[in-house]
Structures are given as structure tokens and as C-alpha cells.
Amino acid sequence: MSYIDTANDILLSPTGLEVNDLQNVLDQMMGNSINRADLYFQTTRHESWVLEDGIVKEGNYNIEQGVGVRAVSGEKTGFSYSDEIVLPALNQAANAAKTIARAGQQNQVQAWKKHSSHQLYLPIDPLDSLTTDEKIDLLRQVDAEARKQDPRIKQVIASLVGVHEVVLVASSDGTLNADVRPLVRMNVTVIAEEGDDREQASSGGGGRVGYEYFTQEDRALGFAREAVRQALVNLKAVAAPAGTMPVVLGPGWPGVLLHEAIGHGLEGDFNRKGSSAFSGRIGERVASPLCTIVDDGTLDRRRGSLNMDDEGTRTQQTMLIEKGVLKGYMQDKMNAELMGVESTGNGRRESYAHLPMPRMTNTYMLAGEHDPQEIIESVEKGVYAVNFGGGQVDITSGKFVFSASEAYLIENGKVTQPIKGATLIGNGPDVLTRVSMVGNDLKLDTGVGVCGKEGQSVPVGVGQPTLKIDSLTVGGTA
């Protein structure tokens, strides 16, 4: 069965709606200068289980559904939504959304076009992928694994979250497309205690798979051991240095750097409006020739991957920076049209109750040629940062920060003492010009990223090989 048939069965049929009705609703909206209208139907089932104090003490189940209705006229957007998927509510939302219209040219709804879709993940319901007993047993195993690593582990909080989402997009441009999106996530947080010192650390992962993913390849227990390892390392951490120095970033999740320093600044909306520090800079050198960075929504089963974006556009790999030169922006339909380019399949939204905008999927730097060990050995005095809490950017000034949660001093080419978490700060348009070595060890993160923009959260991925930045400001106290 195609995704459209599945979505039709789950979203439309139960209330007697048919695909033809959608065409009529879109038709009504297309008068008076509206150049695009779209409908976004969504149903989401979400569950979470939480273990703490050695017992599974909380569980939650949530079910949401609704339809978002958007009318676009040039740079103007009218938006309304309803949590009832029935024709009268749909018409009411359509009437509210089209209040944006002013007198103008009449546009036509296009006939539905055929769409080829990816199948990057299976259309499964992850909530059914393990029995409740198996889910609870998995959390208990994680708890036991963490506690048996070291007597200094005093608390373990483990959670398991599963989401089953079905979406259907119908647009006046002839788009009729659907997707079934599973997503699972496990997290393990531990608290280690030694004397009066306490440290907390977390590890986890997931993707667009079923829960059995965590029982395979020792993943769940691996998260437990990793959280313990980080907490114990941090118990021994000394004050981080303060000042500007060479920084080596480890592979994988430290790709937060790319997400903040480069990624947001290359989203189409900011560049269309000219509010990004990267606006108007396509074709310019913004990174060292060692840096090639892509956004790729097509990676198999990844957290940031999508068969289609939330406007029904097939996702793709988009070249952002090639050998240091800025190549392109990430676009949704509205901003692509206003800038005279094609959508790159980056139109995303948190839910039917939010407007789509250009967002990242999986953003990473391609591998280079250096052996990671060689990179560390090239630093006389600096910092080696391998884990991060997260980051933030001001896309207009270009200033960004990201906060290390596991880092070490490098002294005379050797990794020595662990240092306390410190924030690293830089300027997006020039930080990558100072990348002098790129490792051959490209790694993607384990599937943990949540990106927030204008109040909307979406799951994303990041990745990079080990890389060296010749100078970056490290915000310690020593």
C-alpha cells in the first residue's frame, strides 16, 4: 500500500473526507492574489517510559491530530489550523487563512502530480515494536548495567520514547504526498558521587526505527556505560583554561559546531530577508578548502531524515560548502520561489499547528585525510573537546556558542587532564577559515538532536570527522 493510501485510511476516511474534497478546499482559497495554498494533515501517537530510583515510575501516552491550512501571497502568509479533521472545520480554517489575500490575480489549483518517494525507513509503528514488558525490562537492564560499572553511580534515570506519525500534504501546486514516520529515542542520565563532588552525564540515541534497535549491537547497554564513563571522567576534571587557543573537536556530535556556525545562517528565510551574516555570499570563500559540508535528509533511518519534507517535497543531499566555497542555501517552497530557486526539501514544521520554514535535516562535514592521532599530536597547547551539551547562534551577527560537556587539555601533542565543561565562542563566517586539519574518521551523532527555531522543535542530526581549529575562544576560568 502506498503512503498516500495509508494516510488516506488513517487521516481522511474515518471522517468521510476524500481527496477530492481537499482539491475543493484549495480551490476556494485561490482567489485574490493567493499564489499557493496547502493543507497538512497529521496524526501523532507518542509514548514515554521513565525509570528512576531503580523502578519504572512513569509512563505517558499522547495522541494528537489535526490539519494546518496555509495561504501564501508573495511574502505574506495566512495560517490557521484545527484539531478536528472534518470538512466544516477545514473550511473554517481555510477562510481564516485566506484573510491574508488582497485584490489581485486569480490563480489555479494544479492537478495532482505523480511523486516518486524515498523509502529511507519502514512505515512501522514503533510503539508496537516491543511489548510493554520488554520495554520495561530494557530500562531495567540499562539501570543495572550503569550501576554495576562503578559504586560511585548513585542515580540512574533512563527513558524510552516512541513516536508514530502519519502526515499527508495537499497543495495547490499539485503536490499530494504522504509519509509514515517512526521515531524512537533512548536516554540514560547518571549521577556520580565522590566525597562532596557530584557530576551528571547523559548518553543516548535513536532513529527512525523500532525499539528493537536498542537491543541490537548492545546499543542500550552501551549508552549506560557511556554515561557512566563521562560522569567519572568529569569527577576528575580541573578548571578549563580561559582564552583563545587551538581546539581539536572529536568526531560525531561535536558537529553541533556546523549546525550553529554555518547551518542556521544558510537557511533560506534569513537569506531571502537579508538578515543572515551569510546573506548574498554565494560563491565566496567562507571556510578553509579542507571543508565540504552538506545537509542530507536522505540518510538511511537517521533521526534527521525524511522521505519528504513537510511540504511534500522529496528530500535530497544539498551542498552547502564545497572545498570552502559557499554553494547554496536550504530552502522551503516559499523562500525558494521568492529567491528564484527550487526547494531543497528543507521545509519543516513541528506540527500541523505550526508554519513550515527552512530547517536542517542531517548536517555534516565530509571526511578529510588526516589520522585523528596526527591531528592531536600537531597541537602544542590546546583543548580537545569530544562531547557537547548544545549550542546557540545569533544568525545576524554570526556569533555562536557551543558548550563542551567532556573535554581535555592537549599538552605537547598529548591528551592529558580532563577539564570542566566550558563554552566555546566564535564567529560563524570566519571560524571555518581557521580549520587546518580534517580527520578521516567521519561519524554521525547517535540520534539525539533537537533543533529549536522560532519556538518550533524538530529532530535533526549532525556529524563531522575530527577537526582542528587553529584558534577559538575557550570560556574557562583558569
Binding site: K273, G389, G391, V393
Partner: protein, 463 residues
């Protein structure tokens, strides 16, 4: 600002919005649904249950570069139930209010409670703690604003900002939003109440340029009563002035210096304090203020208290998220910690009483000195005035603080020039004990009220 984090659960609780004259939900009808939910839970075998329900609607408009950019009509609703089978607990929620959905949601919660384990601390609050005579705190001031009127206000705001200075070259727009809603809460001990609230805001974000470098800043006003919002022209002017003042920012050398956190960023420091004295942080032993009740954590001149019953205030509430009565009380007296921030679960874990803080604090005030920000700059003489902090570099388990920042360099008691791209680091314990002055420039927006803070010493990392 955009941010990336690895937080395990993106918040799934739907934020609930409403306001349409055609809205079919009134307080009595919603109370009936809560009663049905609780009865259904009992019928399905729960020994106790609590249910909350909310409906909200609103309008948000943005005007950018003189023209309408977005008109959004919001209309949300949701219900959630928690059931207890003895000490086992399960929760479920949905946006569907139909009788069928109510039954299914209760069943989902009960199914979960069959699998969760006995937690001796789980359950409803102590009956004696529940709010009885519910205060009317004047929290509902609906604003019958049409999209056209909201657009006109947003446009005025943006027009004034754009005309304020020729270095303003771009805009992220002026926005107006108005939301009102109703929330009803009930439990099987007989508590059932609901009340309406409203919240309106106006904001403006500008972009200025000088020497090929752009800066962005904003200003906003928020109130439960739209007539008490700052005038659009004031908001626009303020946004423009803040943006232009950042132009020509210089770098900072790595150094030690006194720091003034402007009121709007000083609020953030109080939120780190709250993270450290929240019940969950205490019973998990995951806080830099573990077992600090009765200990000195601020200098003697500091008092911090909660005032939940101020009429019309943004943080006011007659009872907390589990129906426990809210009370005015001190959290810090003479610099000594007097109380943790507790819901009934944390209170039982710590063998204490709930402080009426399920869901958060309600109007937190820190006492201030009778000094203006200007006088504080003079007292500091030389140091940093911080107007923005960035990133997640605050560890409330250890107290380690390291965040990106921007602001102004002060010398001879006067602002010299804007500064950016540096970090500020210290430990929260030392920052709190080093709090020398609090200004009378109170920022009243939100549930945590403070003036600017002068802290004796922090480490700056720069170029």
C-alpha cells in the same frame, strides 16, 4: 536565536490556546468533561485520579518592512489524566474531547499504571493543602482585537523603529499577539476548579549595519491586560536604540572584571538558583545547593520571596498545577535559604510539605537597592555591563557557569563601547555570594522580577 540541544524529550504537552466568539467551550462544560474523566478513571479501577483540561485561542500578526508578513489564528485544546492504582501511576493526554476519546485516554493511562511499579511517594496532594476559597486574581482581560487592528499596531511599532536611525537597514518585523484561555483541574478528592486567563504581547526586532557588520536586537512588552502594554512607538524606539547601540562592537581581552547583569539577563541567574533548590534536584542530589536549607547562599542584604496573589500579574495563581494553595513566603531571608521549591511528590520524598509550586513559581521578587542602573555603573567604575547571554553552559549540578555574552565596556562609570564574542565564567555559588547591588530598574515582564545585578568578579575569555 536558534539552538540545538540533545534534550531527551521535546516537550509533548501541547500548549493550549483559544478565543473565538464561536467557541463552544465554557467553564461549566469543561468541568463536566473533567468530572467525566475522573468518574471514568474510578470506573476503570483507579484508586485516585487527577485531570486537567485547557482550551486556548488567539491571534498573532507580524508586519515586516511595512507590510503584513503573517497572520496566524491559533486554537488549541487538550486534556490530560493521571491515574493511581495505589502507588502505581499512569498518564495519558489527547486533544480530542469526545466521549469516546475520553474513555480511550483513561484506558491508556490505566494500561500504563498496570506496568509501572510501586512508588511509595506517588499520589495526590494532602487533602488539607488543597485550595478552598479560590481567589479571583483578575487574570482575564480578553482583548477584542481584529487582525486589521493588530496589523496597524504592529506596523506603527515597526515604522517608528525603522525611522529611528539611518543605520537601521532591515527588520524582522513588529508583532502583536493576543491569547486567552481557560484551564480546569480536578481530582478524586473533590477538588474541581477552573479560571480564565489572558496574555497579550507586542514586540519588535530590528537589524542595523555599520562597517559591513550587522547587529540585531529587540524589545517587547507583555501583559494580561492589553491596555497596560507599552505604547507601540515606545517598543519600536526601544528596539531600534538597543540594536544601534550594539554597532561597532569590539572584542574583549581575557581578564577578571566586575560585571553588571542588566535586569532582563539577571532573571536568568534567578532561574539557575531555582533549578538548584527545586525539589527534584534536591532528592536526586543533583544540585550545587544540596542540603543548603538554613545556609548562607547570598550576602546578608538579600531577600527573595514569592507573591502568588498579586492582582493581574503574569505569574499569579490561586493554586498550583495540582490544586495546592499558593502562599506568599520567603525563599531567602538575610541571604539564608529558607525554603525549597516543592510539589507534593518532592515534598513527600524530602519529608516536607508542598510549597504550592507544582508547575513552577508565582511572582518571585528579589529586594533591590534604591539605586539606578546609572548609579550602579558609577559604583562599578570599570567593568562589563552584560545585555545578552548565549548557550547552555550552566551546570546546576556543580554550579559551574560558562556562557557566551555581549554588552558594553564601562570605564570611569560610563559606557565606552559595545563588546561581543567573549565568554563569562565563574561558579554560581561565587556569583551569588558576590552579589553586591541590585538596581531599581525592575523588569516586570514575567514571573521573576528583579533589577540589574552587580557581581564583584568574573572571568572573561576573549581574544
Amino acid at each position: 536565536m536558534s539552538r540545538l540541544s540533545s534534550s531527551p524529550n521535546s516537550d509533548q504537552n501541547s500548549s493550549l490556546k483559544m478565543t473565538d466568539s464561536s467557541d463552544p467551550y465554557n467553564s461549566e462544560k469543561l468541568k463536566t468533561i473533567v468530572t467525566d474523566l475522573l468518574q471514568e478513571a474510578t470506573a476503570q479501577g483507579a484508586s485516585a485520579a487527577e485531570a486537567g483540561l485547557s482550551v486556548e485561542s488567539g491571534l498573532s500578526v507580524t508586519v515586516r518592512m511595512g507590510d503584513v508578513e503573517t497572520i496566524e489564528h491559533n486554537r488549541d485544546k487538550g486534556l490530560g489524566i493521571t491515574v493511581y492504582f495505589g502507588n502505581r501511576k499512569g498518564s495519558a493526554s489527547t486533544s480530542d474531547f469526545s466521549l469516546k476519546a475520553v474513555k480511550e485516554t483513561v484506558k491508556a493511562a490505566c494500561d500504563i499504571a498496570r506496568y509501572t511499579e510501586d512508588d511509595p511517594y506517588a499520589g495526590l496532594p494532602d487533602e488539607k493543602m488543597m485550595a478552598k476559597d479560590i481567589l479571583n486574581l483578575d487574570l482575564y482581560h480578553p482583548w477584542d482585537v481584529s487582525a486589521e487592528q493588530a496589523i496597524a499596531l504592529a506596523k506603527e511599532c515597526e515604522d517608528v523603529a525603522r525611522a529611528e536611525d539611518k543605520r537601521i537597514i532591515n527588520s524582522e518585523g513588529g508583532s502583536v499577539s493576543s491569547h486567552s484561555g481557560i484551564r480546569v483541574y480536578g481530582n478524586t478528592q473533590g477538588f474541581l476548579d477552573g479560571y480564565n486567563t489572558s496574555r497579550h504581547s507586542m514586540s519588535c526586532t530590528m537589524i542595523a549595519e555599520q562597517d559591513n557588520a550587522m547587529q540585531r536586537d529587540y524589545w517587547y512588552s507583555i501583559n494580561r491586560d492589553a491596555s497596560k502594554l507599552e505604547a507601540p512607538a515606545e517598543i519600536g524606539k526601544h528596539a531600534a536604540q538597543r540594536t544601534v547601540s550594539r554597532l561597532g562592537a569590539k572584542h574583549m581581552p581575557t581578564c577578571q572584571t566586575p560585571v553588571i547583569f542588566k535586569a532582563e539577563v539577571a532573571k536568568g541567574l534567578l532561574s539557575h538558583l531555582l533549578a538548584g533548590i527545586r525539589g527534584g534536584a534536591q532528592y536526586r542530589k543533583a544540585t550545587f545547593l544540596l542540603d543548603h536549607l538554613g545556609k548562607q547562599i547570598f550576602p546578608e542584604h538579600i531577600r527573595l520571596d514569592e507573591r502568588p496573589h498579586i492582582k493581574g500579574a503574569l505569574g499569579s495563581a490561586p493554586y498550583d498545577n495540582e490544586g495546592v494553595i499558593t502562599t506568599a513566603h520567603d525563599l531567602i531571608t538575610d541571604g539564608v535559604l529558607q525554603s525549597y521549591v516543592l510539589d507534593s511528590y518532592a515534598a513527600r520524598r524530602l519529608d516536607m510539605q508542598s510549597t504550592g509550586n507544582a508547575g513552577g513559581v508565582h511572582n518571585l521578587y528579589i529586594n533591590h537597592d534604591d539605586v539606578s542602573l546609572e548609579t550602579m555603573l558609577k559604583e562599578m567604575d570599570k567593568g562589563l555591563l552584560i545585555t545578552e547571554v548565549m548557550g547552555q553552559g550552566v551546570n546546576t549540578v556543580t554550579g559551574d557557569y560558562s556562557r557566551g555574552a555581549s554588552g558594553f565596556w564601562v570605564e570611569n562609570g560610563e559606557i565606552q563601547y559595545p563588546v561581543e564574542e567573549f565568554t563569562l565564567a565563574s561558579r554560581l555559588q561565587d556569583m551569588f555570594m558576590g552579589l553586591q547591588r541590585i538596581g531599581n530598574d525592575l523588569d516586570m515582564r514575567g514571573g521573576v522580577i528583579t533589577g540589574s545585578w552587580l557581581i564583584d568578579n568574573m572571568t572573561v575569555a576573549g581574544s
